[in-house]
């Protein structure tokens, strides 16, 4: 177990190293000159050269990368070119908002998805089932920016039930979480449905019924816990999807999270921030998968970590 954790952590570190290398290469190749960016439009060639030297941009690629890594090891993600602030500080300031949004989204998708899936499985091959599944597919098929704009228009602008974007109170959280969660809800509804149908076919369900348990007891005592297993594993993977979704959702709703930070940075080619956010996201994804794997044996005793 302990050795498993250590091995996984080592693997994760390697993956992150790979992510950092690939990102660094990509950003190195990007046709925009950071030094010139920092220098601005009135700078002389001399100024640009100075800046280039100070940032080490005139060094060969591998040296730049090694420098970056060494700083990274000390927890230094560098300084934003344009915001002139420590990237770690910028990310730290925005992370809570993103985490909150993700928590809200996970809550939404589980609540909506699992309920839909459960109902659909119990009413399988009825119009209810079909309707729910079409709905779930609609969720899966709708781009988040469309959903976001739509929700914003209907519930915030027209009906005025929610604030029009922003951050702070619970009411601010509802629409963005819903937007971010609907996609996952669609998948979960489908997964839950098929997992439930699968589980209900299993021998142990028959055993439970043979014991004389009532339908509800069989359902919630035996079927649902088993059906949740594949879904728990998915939540970890979801974090990757969220990381992509937050860029869009945060920009639609003006949510001050790292998605917005990333998007601003990409538009301005603020490389240290892009690097930082990519690494943080990759960390989150790796961590999410890791946690999913760690939690799995707690829920499913058959799984052994090795």
């Amino acid at each position: 177990m302990v050795s498993y954790v250590i091995r996984r952590l080592l693997q994760s570190a390697l993956i992150l190293l790979g992510v950092s290398l690939v990102t660094f290469i990509l950003l190195y190749l990007i046709p925009a000159d950071p030094a010139r960016q920092i220098a601005g439009r009135s700078a002389t060639a001399q100024t640009v050269e100075n800046i280039r030297e100070q940032l080490g941009l005139n060094l060969p690629f591998y040296e730049q990368y090694v420098r970056y890594l060494l700083n990274l090891l000390q927890g230094d993600l560098g300084r934003s070119y344009l915001q002139k602030t420590e990237v770690s500080e910028l990310i730290a300031a925005r992370l809570p908002a993103t985490l909150l949004l993700m928590a809200g989204a996970i809550f939404c998708e589980l609540l909506i998805g699992l309920t839909m899936g459960l109902v659909a499985a119990l009413k399988r091959n009825t119009p209810t089932d079909t309707t729910l599944m079409v709905l779930s597919f609609t969720g899966v098929s709708s781009p988040q920016f469309v959903i976001g704009i739509l929700l914003l228009y209907v519930f915030a602008v027209q009906l005025g039930w929610f604030p029009i974007g922003g951050y702070g109170t619970f009411m601010h959280l509802v629409l963005p979480s819903l937007t971010l969660g609907l996609l996952g809800a669609g998948w979960y509804a489908r997964m839950m449905r098929s997992a439930m149908l699968d589980v209900l076919r299993q021998d142990f369900i028959r055993t439970a019924r043979a014991k004389g348990l009532k339908r509800v007891q069989v359902l919630f005592g035996h079927a649902v816990p088993n059906a949740l297993l594949p879904i728990i594993a998915m939540i970890g993977i979801d974090i990757g999807l969220f990381m992509s979704g937050i860029v869009v959702v945060e920009s639609v709703f003006g949510w001050p999270g790292i998605g917005q930070l990333a998007w601003q940075a990409i538009q301005r080619v603020d490389i240290p921030i892009i690097m930082g956010v990519t690494l943080v996201s990759a960390c989150a994804i790796v961590l999410g998968n890791f946690l999913a794997d760690m939690v799995a044996p707690l829920i499913d005793p058959r799984i052994k970590l090795r």
């Binding site: 990509l26 079409v134 709708s142 781009p143 469309v146 704009i149 892009i274």
Partner: protein, 279 residues
């Protein structure tokens, strides 16, 4: 096919796809106007777009172009992306998955660690960076999307190949002395085909959506080539003053993605070997 046609939803999906593909193929015949023509009378004197009306059925956009015509031509973009990008993703993913799943050992290690690496990238960030790097054009966008999307395919094919290669009939083949090529292409590939087809169809919707998102973020297909995503991107801020500019392309994207999802789902059930007569 017969089994497919027995499903009502699948038929609706097929009809929607046919309509969209038809519109895209015969765009010059179907579209009422040239999609890039900026009509003088397409804008009010103050420069506001026209709402849906008699001449411009779905209204005009901010440059006075016919929205319907742009949507019809935009279908070409979405479908090209959906087919090309997804096709590449499917091919790459399937190849990586099969090789890793069958050969194991260092081939597996290298390929799957690389897949893990790609998984760890936030897909959209990667796509955005790549798009910025290569300066977007239709084909570049297709490549970028393909690069991001092959991963799931690889994983699915990998796990399936792994369990397939442990199946007794594959062991039996090997016991007979069948070569690798034979085992891979005559026995494993046919069994993967249904998953590949299913994931391929589902992948079309994913790619169409990703293209839309990239275009929505302004780094997708370049104007004036219409794509449903960039139509929304160009007009998104007008969602209160000219909602039709966002509504129609939004519905189009959802309809296409939904149709492919429903088709994929129906295929999943039709092609699932466990559903076939097995005693």
């Amino acid at each position: 096919m017969e089994r497919l046609l027995r499903r009502k939803l699948a038929i609706i999906a097929l009809v929607v796809i046919t309509i969209i593909v038809g519109a895209a193929l015969f765009a010059p015949l179907v579209a009422p106007f040239d999609p890039s023509e900026q009509f003088f009378e397409g804008l009010t004197l103050e420069g506001a777009p026209l709402p849906p009306g008699e001449r411009f059925w779905l209204g005009t956009d901010l440059l006075g172009r016919d929205v319907l015509s742009r949507l019809i031509y935009g279908a070409q973009t979405s479908l090209i992306i959906g087919l090309v990008a997804n096709g590449i993703a499917v091919a790459v993913g399937a190849l990586v998955g099969i090789l890793a799943g069958f050969f194991r050992g260092w081939v597996e290690t290298v390929l799957m660690r690389f897949t893990d690496l790609m998984m760890a990238f936030p897909a959209l960030l990667l796509a955005i960076t790549l798009a910025a790097l290569f300066r977007p054009s239709l084909w570049i966008v297709a490549m970028v999307i393909a690069m991001v999307n092959w991963v799931q395919m690889a994983r699915v094919v990998y796990t399936e190949t792994r369990s397939l290669s442990e199946r007794e009939f594959i062991v039996a083949e090997r016991a007979m002395g069948a070569g690798l090529g034979r085992v891979l292409f005559r026995h494993i590939l046919p069994h993967l085909l249904s998953s590949i087809v299913v994931f391929g169809t589902l992948g079309i919707s994913t790619t169409v959506l990703l293209e839309a998102t990239l275009s929505y973020l302004g780094i997708g297909v370049q104007p004036p080539t219409p794509s449903w995503g960039n139509i929304i991107y160009e007009n998104q801020t007008y969602f209160t003053s000219a909602p039709w500019l966002v509504f129609f392309p939004g519905v189009a994207i959802i309809a296409l993605a939904l149709a492919f999802n429903l088709l994929g789902d129906a295929l999943r059930e039709v092609l699932d070997p466990t559903q076939k007569g097995r005693h």
